[in-house]
């Protein structure tokens, strides 16, 4: 189901939802941050025009600190305006937390959240979804999204439901609006193309993923330890890239019970760049050196999870590039490896 609506009407309806129905809405702000209707009742500075928020969306489903008990009072929440890169990240988290053993805490947060995605119409220099197999807009086949917002122009939106929950929402609150015309949809599609092209232009010095290029390069790249040592030299192991990464899921369980009948434990986000991450009692450490841990993060995203899920766990959101105090750019690291691997292969021949 599709509906055409003006930007102002859309924001007004969200505002009504907060005011009249006390709905909890998470939304992107003009300053780039993720806000919500508890701390910002009037949805001031609401925007759909930015790229993804500064904060990774994982913190809604997998908080940085979680006491490992199910929040039974959690109310239905609506997450508005997330982009393809975060949708892809939720796909990774779903695979991690909902397959085999089900993580009930994550499941509860996920089930209580209606996800409204939005097209990304102004990609920035740090965006690179296009070169890791993505695109700056969400389609139904991408999954995760209940309802998507796309742009005819900056003032006119097309709302399109992707799931029955999304359709219900659309029927309930947007039934008075018209369907978009063919012309408007064509205009929307051309906007998507423009954004897509922008991504390629911003990334033209990097190498686009095709034929499993990243996977094949990184799979055996421990043969290229020399390159990894050079690339990781600047890394200060602050863990910023792990924390801000929307698809990094590692956590540490902290045992803090008072006694056996007063159990308490929580979990906090953990970082594979930290020396102690893989260390076992007695001091043995499978990744003792910085370059091994640095390499592990790339291999986790482009090799290991690719082998598990057939898609990369890097979504091209560019948060790690923005956050890095050493200005390490994941795209450059991969480019250098692909090039070095190419040379290596040539030398071997």
């Amino acid at each position: 189901m599709k509906r055409l609506i003006s930007y102002t009407d859309f924001v007004n309806i969200l505002y009504e939802l907060v005011r009249e129905e006390q709905k909890l809405i998470y939304f992107p702000c003009r300053d780039g941050h993720l806000s919500n209707s508890l701390i910002n009742k009037n949805l001031e500075n609401f925007t759909l025009l930015n790229i993804r928020t500064i904060e990774p969306i994982k913190l809604l489903f997998f908080p940085a600190k979680d006491n490992l008990s199910i929040n039974s009072e959690l109310q239905q929440q609506i997450l508005v305006g997330i982009k393809w890169c975060d949708v892809q990240a939720i796909k990774v988290l779903d695979k991690m937390f909902l397959s085999d053993y089900v993580d009930e805490m994550y499941k509860t947060y996920r089930e209580k959240t209606l996800i409204i995605t939005a097209d990304c119409i102004q990609p920035q220099q740090i965006c690179f979804c296009g070169i890791v197999g993505g695109k700056p807009y969400v389609e139904q086949k991408d999954g995760i999204s209940d309802l998507n917002i796309s742009f005819v122009d900056e003032n006119n939106l097309i709302l399109e439901s992707y799931t029955s929950a999304g359709e219900e929402f659309l029927e309930k609150y947007f039934q008075n609006f018209e369907q978009p015309t063919k012309t408007e949809e064509v205009q929307r599609n051309s906007n998507r193309e423009v954004a897509n092209r922008k991504i390629y232009i911003f990334n033209n010095e990097f190498l686009k993923e095709e034929n499993e290029k990243y996977y094949k390069t990184l799979k055996h790249s421990y043969e290229l330890d020399k390159i990894w040592k050079i690339e990781s030299e600047k890394c200060v192991q602050c863990g910023g890239c792990n924390f801000i990464c929307p698809s990094c899921y590692c956590f540490l369980i902290r045992e803090a019970s008072k006694s056996y009948n007063e159990q308490y434990r929580d979990r906090v986000w953990d970082v594979c760049h930290f020396t102690g991450y893989g260390r076992v009692a007695g001091g043995a450490n499978p990744r003792k050196y910085k370059y091994q841990r640095f390499r592990n993060r790339y291999q986790c995203k482009f090799v290991y999870r690719y082998e598990n899920f057939s898609f990369y766990a890097c979504t091209g959101c560019g948060r790690c590039i923005e956050v890095c105090p050493a200005k390490i750019d994941i795209r450059k690291v991969i480019r250098n490896l692909v090039l070095a691997k190419g040379e290596e292969v040539l030398v071997k021949k």
Binding site: L68, Y222, C250, E255, Y260, G278, V280, A281, P286, E307
Partner: protein, 273 residues
């Protein structure tokens, strides 16, 4: 209660194996049976201190209690070693995939253990002994640092009486007159055994360095990678394939292991250390 919450177990008995290794017999407080497959592991909690993975050393045929043999090596095991019979600990599990015992039927089984690495292998050995006629023969090669560091000293006399089970032991070093078996690292025992490599599986558990050299030696002896089974131990934290700590390549040791064939691991960077 979440998938991360432990159940309470009472310490029923403590055996001091060596100066820094103890075997704890644990009994479920709720009276339930504890069912596991040999080679699977558990997460053991010392309340308020920490949680760590261990593989039971008892037979899976025994379900009223489980035995866990633990070396005092870190913060949590330090406290555990100071605990008394009757104290309460927490257990989650069992987790992971154990030894594929059914695949060993009709074959020679070569078990190679180092130090406290004999713990999971004891569980395997007890399982194999239950159905010893299913296997062509069983050889146990066990190495410890010194004669004092040998675990389950009291069990070896019984095991030596079993038909179809051959036992060889070595110590790295010893005082003169203290030891009349082999002196040297555990791999030197492999030169002394007779095995039909084509119809044999090898099962290895021990410290990383021992696992590495034993694997290399077995490959040298023409064991195929799929004939070598390794009990990988890392810092499995959640035990459920979620927290990431025990990742080894695209595997999670806790979920896809802890028992792996060398075939699965040989192309992964730094499988041991």
């Amino acid at each position: 209660m979440s998938i991360y919450s432990p159940k309470n177990f009472k310490i029923k008995k403590i055996i001091e194996e060596t100066p820094n290794i103890k075997t704890f017999t644990l009994e479920p407080l709720n009276g339930e049976k504890f069912v596991f497959q040999t080679g699977q592991f558990i997460e053991l909690t010392v309340y308020g201190v920490g949680e760590a993975p261990f593989t039971p050393s008892s037979s899976p045929y025994k379900t009223e209690t489980i035995d866990v043999t633990i070396m005092r090596v870190g913060r949590m095991t330090e406290v555990l070693h100071s605990m008394k019979e009757g104290d309460i600990v927490g257990i989650r599990g069992p987790y992971g995939k154990g030894y594929p015992v059914d695949k060993f039927v009709g074959k020679e089984v070569l078990i190679i253990g180092g130090g406290v690495g004999l713990a999971p292998l004891r569980s395997l050995l007890l399982t194999l002994i239950e159905r010893i006629n299913d296997f062509k023969k069983i050889i146990l090669c066990y190495g410890a640092r010194t004669p004092q560091d040998i675990v389950y000293k009291y069990l070896f006399p019984e095991w030596k009486k079993i038909n179809g089970l051959e036992i060889l032991r070595s110590v790295d070093k010893c005082q003169p007159g203290e030891w009349d078996e082999t002196v040297g690292v555990v791999t030197c025992l492999l030169d002394k055994i007779q095995v039909d490599v084509k119809n044999c599986v090898a099962v290895v558990c021990g410290p990383p360095i021992m696992m590495k050299f034993t694997t290399l030696k077995l490959v040298d002896m023409k064991f195929k990678p799929q004939q070598i089974y390794l009990s990988m131990e890392r810092n499995m934290s959640c035990g459920l394939g979620k927290c990431g700590h025990c990742q080894i390549g695209s595997y999670f040791i806790c979920k896809d292991g802890p028992v792996f064939s060398w075939e699965q691991l040989k192309d992964i960077p730094e499988p041991f250390e």
